[in-house]
């Protein structure tokens, strides 16, 4: 199913923050972001169920990652430079502390962690991962950079009792959740 043109995200929708918020600036309290994400999650979950809510958040994250890569990052650099810039931007914008643990450049498999994650750090332990939006975001960023479809799976999360989110990133399979 395609996206209606009226709903298609465009980076202009981020708006001119400097113009619009001369006094408050670009920053806001993290609680506000989480308030939006988790109430939105509840609303989607109530209507479509937990799995569908997870899929929709992942899809939204994928689009966010693609647009973030296209509008904030420089894709014309080698992988090391790209990752360094991505780390810097995520830190600068308060998204999280990205760290790579393993990178197989031949198979395009990565293990990376996000510390102090925007979505989940400090949450109560609920026993399951909650960073589907991040999963999509990571897949979207890498997908736009490489031109290939990726799938990111969160294997550790603050909400499962860990203290850093860990993602296993692989090329998407034909029936993978990402890269549709």
């Amino acid at each position: 199913m395609g996206t209606d043109s009226c709903c298609r995200f465009n980076w202009k929708q981020v708006g001119d923050i400097a113009l619009g918020r001369p006094h408050l600036g670009p920053m806001m309290h993290l609680a506000v972001y989480r308030l939006m994400q988790y109430t939105l999650r509840e609303a989607i979950c109530a209507r479509y169920g937990h799995d569908e809510a997870s899929d929709l958040l992942r899809s939204a994250g994928l689009r966010a990652g693609e647009e973030f890569c296209a509008n904030v990052l420089n894709s014309d650099q080698d992988f090391n430079g790209f990752v360094a810039e991505l780390q810097e931007k995520l830190r600068e914008m308060g998204v999280g502390i990205l760290r790579i643990e393993k990178a197989d450049m031949e198979k395009l498999n990565f293990t990376l962690t996000v510390g102090e994650d925007l979505d989940c750090s400090g949450l109560p332990v609920v026993g399951h991962t909650v960073c589907e939006y991040d999963e999509g975001f990571i897949a979207g960023v890498l997908g736009r950079y490489t031109g290939k479809a990726f799938e990111a799976k969160e294997v550790d999360c603050w909400a499962t009792g860990e203290r850093t989110c860990r993602f296993s990133v692989t090329l998407a399979t034909a029936d993978g959740a990402d890269g549709k």
Partner: protein, 303 residues
């Protein structure tokens, strides 16, 4: 019904053993026990189990073995999990640095971050100096073209490779000595720079242009047939003619071209290109001139 006091005593002993660094066996839960005592036994056993799995992980971490994953859902060792993730990232960063990637930076690890980042900065400076030295050792400082040393290395490399056919253009600037003698070395330098720019602007991205002598230049054209090399040379000649039309500095260059059709033939090709360049120079001797004044007042120089 088991005595609650006995169960409490048993659990206390287990906890004290834990605090002494021992690994006690689980509490054996009697068949008949009060719900409260049952809960206490289960909680005590969860604590023993969590400590056991934590001990394995922490011992590995203390020994620098990062391959052992931290036990999931284990809250006892939360800060160590963070440390484990940071160390794994450091290992990856170190391997990246060893591979020559100096884009790394460590954050939020206290003094380790400071020291690591200082080391990276020092390595960047060292690399910058090495790059500069490498550039200087390979390039002619005046023109920015490659120098004779690099040219010879490239020629030898190509001789060993299977990039056949490959071609060579030899170019010689006419009248440099006369310009140096009559107008001074600064004017001669301008002539050399103009010739270098003409050659640079005419060649392709993979071609190697070098200044191999005071007024001598050469271009290596890897994997290039003779007819393809002719096209490159024709483009250089056009650039030269255009330069004479648009500049008061009248540059005349003699060229020679040859192609190595077999592996190991680059030196022979160089000699042949050199010979052809001299033939052209001789043929054109009567028509060469250079001028640093206006074209209407050309000063003639014999080459």
């Amino acid at each position: 019904m088991a005595n609650n006091a006995d169960i409490i005593k048993c659990c206390r002993e287990k906890i004290e053993a834990l605090l002494c660094g021992e690994t006690p066996a689980s509490v054996e839960i009697p068949d008949k026990v009060s719900p409260e005592a049952m809960e206490l036994c289960h909680a005590c056993n969860r604590l023993i189990s969590a400590q056991q799995e934590a001990a394995t992980f922490l011992a590995a971490l203390a020994n620098g073995n990062l391959e052992i994953d931290p036990p999931p859902r284990n809250q006892l060792i939360s800060p160590f999990k963070q440390l484990h993730a940071s160390l794994r990232h450091l290992v990856w960063q170190t391997s990246q640095i060893a591979a020559g990637n100096l884009e790394q930076q460590v954050d939020f690890l206290g003094e380790l971050s400071t020291s690591f980042n200082k080391m990276i900065e020092a390595l960047r400076q060292k690399q910058s100096i090495e790059d500069m030295l490498r550039y200087l050792s390979n390039h002619d400082p005046m023109t920015g073209l490659y120098n004779r040393l690099y040219f010879n290395e490239e020629l030898a490399r190509l001789d060993r490779s299977r990039q056949i056919p490959s071609s060579i253009i030899v170019a010689d600037l006419n009248g440099l000595k006369q310009v140096n003698d009559s107008l001074g070395h600064e004017s001669g330098d301008l002539l050399i720079l103009a010739a270098a720019e003409i050659i640079r602007s005419g060649i392709r991205a993979d071609d190697v242009a070098a200044r191999i002598g005071g007024d001598e230049f050469a271009v290596i054209l890897p994997f290039t047939r003779n007819d393809e090399a002719e096209l490159v040379l024709s483009r250089i000649r056009k650039k030269e003619a255009l330069h004479r039309e648009t500049s008061d500095l009248q540059v005349f260059i003699s060229y020679g071209l040859a192609t190595a059709e077999q592996q190991g033939g680059m030196n022979e090709a160089l000699k042949l290109a050199d010979k052809r360049m001299y033939e052209e120079k001789t043929n054109n001797k009567s028509g060469m001139s250079h001028s640093l004044t206006s074209k209407k007042q050309k000063r003639k120089w014999r080459n």
